[in-house]
């Protein structure tokens, strides 16, 4: 165990609706979907059509530019619907599931005993390859690269985030198999980053072949991007890969059982959930199977993921590919009389300009209102207080806005992803959509650098 890396900058947003540590088996969803929109920059090519029958692990579509990357069905069943958006962009491939799930079979072996190429092939075939993402750019890893390291963040500090130590309970063997696969893939170390605030679960502390790093501090200390920055930052021309603990387990299960079993645990959280707790479900489930009868009345925002970086879904939308959390918060589409003048005892703010600073322990209900109009980026010095990397966030953002590739590179664009700027976006006085600016910058870099 190495020394604890302490981070001071950041912000823990104390929201109402933390999941109680109880596992509940969710009802089986009536529909499942795989959403190409979960994967940045992906141009999907369908290999199935309406009414085709598929098994769990059957290919649904592939990446037009890297055809070896396949996306597969989480359950067996019939293709019920292919939802398209503007310009016929595929949004969702919807599957109506069978009673009993039938599985495609894949190679079953301890990854430690087979070659790197066999590991890659098995991941590509089963559709689990997309669980691996790369920095720079935060896109699906390129199977032709060898990363200088692979990072797993074993804890999440985002608001109401699931406790991975609880989620992975009892999955020692699956996790170890997954780690063995990662060891094969990595050109260097496999870093497993844990929170030093409490002793990590056995699943993490007894994992073999990984370097365990301890971290301490406020959010975004649990963001893998922050951890990479402190352990082994990404320089120009270098690549690291990242993966979440639940996805490591999926990979482990693939090698252990020889099938794509997309079972995962999802925390249902948020102020509008009646009884927030953990659900055992299957990847790609319609979230209604989890939220039904457990949410309050009123206009609600359903989010697959957390409130800072998650994706807005409809109440009968689907769980995102990478998500281990569903959050339900109230919509804020109403006018507030003189809201900017009120003392604000109940208004959450990073700044002490509302009197809520008198009550730091309170759990807040925050709705989706922007709380103000969009303005020029005027206020300086606040982003730096929640951005723990040695990067100038405001200057990098401005470089992105003016599309200065050279400057973006110099200011550290390779190290960041949208999620690293989520807190900046949250506290921003000018209400700028910072994460989409960062995404635009990353996309521009991909286009320019090839």
């Amino acid at each position: 165990m190495s020394e604890t890396i302490k981070i001071r900058k950041g912000l823990n947003i104390n929201l109402k609706g933390k999941a109680e540590k109880i596992f509940v088996k969710a009802d089986k969803a009536e529909l499942f979907a795989v959403k190409p929109t979960d994967f940045y920059g992906l141009v999907p090519k369908l290999t199935v059509k309406l009414d085709d029958t598929v098994k769990a692990g059957s290919e649904l579509f592939y990446d037009k530019y890297k055809p070896q990357i396949k996306f597969t069905a989480p359950v067996s069943g019939k293709i019920q619907l292919i939802n398209r958006g503007e310009r016929r962009r595929i949004l969702e491939v919807v599957i109506s599931p069978d009673e009993e799930i039938e599985y495609e079979s894949f190679k079953q072996a301890d990854p430690a005993t087979i070659s790197r190429n066999e590991v890659i092939q098995n991941l590509l075939d089963s559709g689990l390859w997309p669980t691996l993402r790369q920095r720079p750019y935060n896109i699906i890893a390129n199977p032709e690269d060898t990363p200088k390291a692979i990072f797993i963040s074993a804890f999440d500090t985002a608001p109401l985030a699931p406790d991975y130590d609880f989620v992975v309970k009892g999955k020692e063997q699956e996790f170890q198999y997954g780690v063995n696969a990662l060891i094969k893939l990595s050109g260097g170390k496999v870093h497993l980053n844990v929170n030093s605030e409490y002793p990590p679960s056995n699943v993490f502390s007894q994992a073999q072949g990984v370097q365990i790093n301890k971290f301490k501090g406020p959010h975004p200390v649990g963001n893998v991007g922050t951890q990479i920055h402190y352990i082994d930052p990404v320089n120009k021309g270098e690549v690291v890969w990242t993966i979440s603990p639940q996805d490591v387990i999926l990979i482990g299960r693939l090698f252990l059982k020889g099938k794509y079993d997309a079972s995962r645990i999802v925390a249902l959280t948020g102020s509008e959930v009646l009884k927030p707790k953990y659900y055992k479900t299957i990847g790609g489930s319609c979230i209604r199977s989890i939220t039904k009868e457990n949410v309050k009345e009123g206009e609600l925002r359903f989010i697959s993921g957390n409130v800072l970086t998650g994706t807005k879904v409809y109440q009968n939308g689907f769980l995102g590919f990478y998500d281990s959390q569903i959050t339900v918060i109230p919509e804020g589409n109403f006018h507030e009389f003189m809201g900017w003048l009120s003392p604000g005892f109940k208004k959450y703010s990073f700044y002490r300009s509302f009197f809520s600073w008198m009550n730091p322990e309170k759990e807040y209900t925050i709705n989706t209102n922007l709380h103000g109009g969009k303005r020029a980026l005027m206020i300086t010095g606040s982003f730096e207080r929640v951005f723990p990397m040695d990067i100038y966030p405001m200057q990098l953002l401005k470089a992105i806005i003016i599309e200065d590739i050279d400057l973006m590179e110099k200011l550290g664009i390779y190290e960041v992803a949208e999620e690293d700027f989520a807190l900046c976006e949250f506290i921003d006085t000018s209400k700028t959509d910072i994460q989409s600016i960062v995404r635009k910058g990353l996309d521009l870099m991909i286009k320019e650098m090839g």
């Binding site: 270098e238 900017w340 604000g344 703010s349 109009g373 005027m378 100038y392 989520a422 989409s436």
Partner: protein
């Protein structure tokens, strides 16, 4: 409250694109958002946002200026009645009311002129009315002499908003602090109204009813003419602010209350405030070392409580748009502004006060300071590549 909302909803379509009052869209929008926080919700990125917005930020700054403003009103009355010899027979309310009636028109003129221009530009540029003028509109009166003609307030505000802000692309894009731009404009265009011995006390210029021998000179006036020993003010007068000067600048105590509000809420940069005071102190000490006259020998800490130094450090230098933007840059920027302010004040006989010029000068240099700070960060990153490749 529902009634107002219903009314707004009812008339709103007239102001939208294609409506018959489309020309007044910005005005309507300004009024509507003043009354109600918009109902807009998050579309992309973070689903929740901080309760703060630009209006809240600006109103905090205005709140921080209120102690200085209230004291300034009282002080205006106090000095006027000292000059007329009636101080002893006036009540606190009478003194304050006199000042209030003097200051209020200046504030109204400043806001009306500035907001009118902002709204017109917002309409032309098709964006929302920025809140920056909330603060600028209050800053301008606070740095005016009490007897400034109202038309001058208006002209200088026009100058500041158009030349200081709008030509650069609007709020957030300006290089210079707009309020200081207004004051600098008046200072160079109408020096007789903005400096000298007779403009700081109300009624002194007209001379009616003034008792013989009353001098309205500021501390700077005494000091610049080497008569510090004849000055009727003690350091505690200077700290409390019972001295002649621009409306809001005299009371260091009231300004410090504002500084605490700014720093506590996180709206103002403590780095700039602290480093500017430090810079002023250091230059004061340097001048003490080489003192050849009384002004240079003035105790360094007294420099911080006279003239516009404290006001400039707390409310002017901290403007986030025209100041340095990086944290390290802010320290350097503030320090140099403090240094220069005292240097100009003491050594340049043409300018009785150096704070305004020092801050404007540092406004111009702020991007350069930031440039070097950021270059250092870039170099560090490049070095990391070399070591990892070696």
């Amino acid at each position: 409250m529902k009634g107002i909302r219903n009314l707004l909803n009812k008339v709103k379509p007239n102001f939208e694109k294609g409506g018959k009052l489309e020309k007044f869209r910005s005005l309507f929008d300004a009024v509507e958002t003043l009354l109600y926080v918009p109902d807009k919700v998050t579309r992309t990125g973070s689903h929740i946002r901080d309760a703060i917005d630009m209006k809240r930020t600006m109103i905090i700054v205005v709140t921080a200026m209120v102690p200085a403003l209230l004291f300034g009103m009282w002080n205006a009355g106090y000095h006027h009645f000292l000059a007329t010899g009636e101080f002893a027979e006036k009540t606190f309310i009478q003194i304050f009311t006199f000042g209030l009636l003097k200051v209020l028109p200046i504030i109204i003129v400043s806001y009306v002129t500035g907001l009118a221009i902002e709204i017109i530009f917002a309409q032309i540029r098709n964006h929302d009315v920025p809140e920056g003028f909330f603060v600028t509109g209050m800053l301008i009166p606070l740095i005016m002499p009490i007897d400034v003609p109202l038309w001058m307030v208006s002209v200088s505000t026009v100058f500041a908003v158009i030349i200081g802000v709008e030509v650069f692309g609007g709020a957030g894009m300006n290089v210079l602090n707009p309020a200081l731009t207004a004051r600098a404009f008046l200072f160079f265009a109408y020096p007789s109204e903005m400096s000298g011995t007779r403009v700081w006390v109300s009624g002194l210029k007209s001379g009616q009813g003034i008792i013989d021998g009353f001098s309205g000179e500021t501390v700077m006036g005494y000091a610049a003419s080497n008569r510090i020993d004849q000055m009727p003010f003690s350091p505690s007068d200077m700290f409390l602010g019972t001295i002649p000067g621009s409306i809001g600048e005299t009371s260091t105590l009231a300004i410090l209350v504002g500084a605490i509000i700014l720093i506590w809420t996180g709206v103002g940069s403590w780095r700039i405030i602290v480093s500017m005071f430090t810079g002023g102190l250091v230059m004061g000490l340097i001048l003490n070392l080489f003192a050849v006259n009384d002004y240079m020998a003035l105790p360094a800490c007294q420099h911080l409580i006279i003239g516009g130094f404290a006001f400039g450090a707390v409310f002017m230098a901290t403007d986030p748009v025209s100041a340095a933007q990086t944290n390290k840059g802010k320290l350097i920027y503030g320090f140099l502004a403090g240094l220069l302010a005292i240097l100009i004040r003491v050594l340049n006989p043409a300018y009785p006060e150096g704070v305004m010029l020092a801050i404007l000068l540092m406004n111009v240099f702020a991007p350069l300071i930031d440039h070097y700070i950021i270059e250092a960060n870039i170099k560090k990153r490049l070095k990391r590549v070399q070591t990892s490749n070696a």
